[in-house]
């Protein structure tokens, strides 16, 4: 049943995004009309109502910092009280406010926008790039997320796809996608580790590749660790230096800070090839009394390494965790795949070589490999003759809230999916009509240290004395890594109805509304 349905694979990154599709049986990255193969994940709102997305939008960061949204991925699917939201509120040049159900909204030109809406605009741009290249409409997509994304973040990413007018066939994990692209069609029999340091997140996955079967053995990650954090270290260093030299706090000037942020990213990138980087920012700051300051310095790689080494070390702690979970040591893997722009840095490559005791695999483009893997998976789903086949796992422990603010484990992390587990509950009060359960994802016994996925209320079962009614609750994680919960009365066989009163996610109405808005949005 081979079809010629087109599916795009989208690597929706924190800093950059990339789109690919299968052409003549090979994954191919699609460039935009200017030949750019990756697009900045930046959305800028113009005063005339038009919207700019991508590398041009990124240029507007300097001139329209309050109307230009970047790093939306750091906030998608999170609550306003999360540490990440707090941090973003402190450092971002755009306005971050609280939305319904403790969700996050960004306020641009007086309008409130959800994070899935922002990401949808990036996805729409990627869709249009593919359509312009292929000369036909594209509706199906596989989108990648960091392996360590929780259910809320995955749901929000799926919502973003829907809002962009895409049928999201699958959400897959970025390191898994990278391994797919690496092993595709090679008839390998080996174990690989994928070290994925992106703009905002870090993932490590260990896979067993046997011919065309890709089995993920373990994964671990840190959704607060990425190349951006290295930029921030540089920015802080520069701001301190400026303070020392001029006695003026440049951090108070949003424009100056944005300039510095940009220069920090450039400086970091320059260290991929250079040992010393000259930094020159003319007219970085104009004070109220009209004094104009330039910023000049030379930074060497030793200083750069000093500034960022602890971040790099943190990534290896996460690696240790993954190996322990897989019951393996670093010596058990045959190869290491590097993913993400920051892995171009000699600092990272040297550290990885040292940790794994082997040279990372070459010939893989760290910026494009994830989108290529997503395209392969998309094709594997719609083309039944495809032999490529993926067995993935759930990265976080699924937990059930119990009394006293505690929680108990239902499905352990690194369990293969799809899988389900059933628990039986009995009513605790006479004539009880409802049972409420709360589910969480995370590694702590304490509820508040985990991410709350939602609160489910079951009703519609028999009404009787306490302890007489049993309710079987089934927790399921599907192949998308999405959590489903259902309940039934085993005696009557009757299914209880569920209402999910959750999370920071969008309602169906909100999604529909956003869809209409995004569809009609005019991209500049």
């Amino acid at each position: 049943m081979a079809t010629n349905e087109i599916v795009i694979g989208v690597d929706l990154g924190t800093s950059y995004s990339c789109v690919a599709t299968m052409e003549d049986g090979q994954p191919t990255v699609i460039a935009n009309d200017w030949g750019e193969r990756t697009q900045a994940s930046v959305v800028s709102f113009l005063n005339d109502g038009r919207i700019q997305v991508g590398n041009d939008a990124k240029k507007r960061l300097l001139t329209y910092p309050r109307q230009t949204i970047y790093s939306a991925k750091r906030l998608i699917g999170r609550y306003i009280f999360s540490p990440e939201a707090k941090k973003a509120q402190a450092v971002c040049s755009y306005e971050i406010v609280e939305g319904p159900n403790h969700g996050i909204r960004v306020k641009v030109l007086g309008e409130l926008l959800s994070l899935p809406q922002i990401s949808a605009l990036v996805l729409k741009e990627m869709k249009e790039i593919a359509e312009s290249y292929l000369g036909q409409t594209v509706t199906k997509a596989v989108i990648t997320v960091p392996a360590y994304f929780n259910d809320n973040q995955r749901q929000a990413t799926t919502d973003a796809g829907k809002i962009a007018g895409l049928d999201v066939l699958r959400i897959i994990n970025e390191p898994t996608a990278a391994a797919l692209a690496y092993g595709f069609g090679k008839q390998l029999k080996e174990r690989v580790a994928v070290y994925d340091l992106g703009g905002g997140t870090f993932d490590i996955s260990i896979l067993d590749i046997g011919n065309d079967t890709f089995e993920v053995l373990a994964t671990a990650g840190d959704t607060y660790l990425g190349g951006d954090d290295i930029d921030m270290r540089l920015m802080d260093y520069f701001a301190d230096l400026f303070m020392k030299e001029n006695g003026v706090n440049l951090r108070k000037d949003i424009m100056a800070l944005q300039r510095l942020r940009e220069v920090s990213e450039e400086t970091k990138k320059a260290f991929s090839e250079k040992k010393k980087v000259k930094v020159h920012v003319p007219e970085v700051l104009t004070t109220e009394d009209g004094k104009v300051y330039d910023f000049n310095t030379i930074i060497d790689s030793e200083t750069f390494v000093q500034l960022s080494m602890d971040l790099v070390q943190r990534s290896f702690k996460v690696c240790d965790e993954a190996f322990q979970s897989a019951g393996m040591t670093v010596h058990d893997v045959d190869g290491v795949i590097l993913v993400g722009g920051p892995t171009r840095l000699p600092l990272i490559r040297d550290s990885v070589r040292h940790y794994f005791g082997k040279e990372p695999l070459s010939g893989i483009d760290p910026d494009e490999v994830v989108a290529m893997g997503a395209a392969i998976q998309g094709n594997a789903l719609v083309d039944s003759s495809s032999q490529t086949f993926l067995l993935d796992i759930t990265p976080l422990t699924l937990r059930l809230g119990t009394v006293g603010g505690y929680s108990e484990q239902i499905i352990a992390r690194n369990t293969p999916v799809p899988i389900d587990r059933t628990r039986t509950f009995t009513t605790s009060r006479d004539n009880q009509e409802r049972v409420k359960i709360r589910i969480f994802q995370g590694e702590s016994n304490r509820q508040e240290e985990n991410e709350m996925l939602g609160e489910f209320e079951f009703s519609g079962f028999r009404v009787a004395r306490r302890g007489e009614v049993q309710i079987e609750v089934t927790f399921e994680i599907d192949s998308d890594g999405i959590v489903n919960v259902s309940a039934r009365d085993p005696e009557s066989g009757q299914s209880a109805s569920t209402t999910v009163s959750l999370s920071s996610g969008l309602s169906q109405d909100e999604i529909q509304q956003s869809m209409d808005q995004v569809q009609s949005a005019e991209l500049a």
Partner: protein
């Protein structure tokens, strides 16, 4: 998809509640870890929903999904040596009436283990003391301690066993006749 395939899926779904994990994975009960992984790959290739993504929603697809989840469950249990031995015991103890491994059975096992190392506070304390003395190779003291523990819990098989073990370790020339 032909009707033969649908029939086969149907037969599997019907059989799911009557077969154990070894049968789900189609492996021998003495299969090695490597054979279990291989079987997991093979059965997943047959039943994983991704392989039938193009099928329309319906009974057939639901059936495939159900089998796939059971294949994963079998693999998760059998690839873990401890869980596998619990499961094997469960099969025997329940005369094959309980074919799915549950975490609850694990909790029961844990409880059973606690009971083994002592039902009373004093019994548990003496057991720990005895084990420490064994470690120091002070077998004379250990035997005495385990026997004291037995005074609190006369029916504890483990205490009895350990006392004997300690006695057997006491070298004869230390015994004063």
């Amino acid at each position: 998809m032909d009707s033969k395939f649908a029939e086969r899926i149907n037969a599997w779904v019907k059989a799911l509640d009557r077969i154990d994990y070894y049968q789900v994975l189609q492996v021998d009960p003495h299969a090695s870890m490597g054979q279990i992984r291989e079987a997991y790959h093979k059965q997943s290739r047959l039943f994983h929903p991704d392989r039938y993504f193009h099928l329309d929603q319906g009974e057939l697809k639901d059936g495939i999904y159900k089998i796939s989840k059971r294949v994963t469950e079998a693999y998760v249990t059998l690839r873990d040596a401890q869980k596998r031995s619990h499961y094997d015991r469960q099969l025997v103890e329940n005369k094959r009436t309980k074919l799915r491994y549950t975490e609850q059975s694990e909790l029961q096992q844990k409880k059973a283990k606690v009971e083994q190392t002592g039902k009373t506070e004093k019994g548990r304390q003496l057991f720990r003391q005895g084990m420490a003395e064994m470690k120091r190779a002070d077998f004379v003291a250990a035997e005495r301690t385990f026997k004291m523990a037995m005074a609190y819990e006369s029916d504890n098989e483990l205490f009895k066993q350990k006392a004997e073990e300690a006695r057997n370790n006491i070298k004869t020339d230390y015994k004063i006749k």
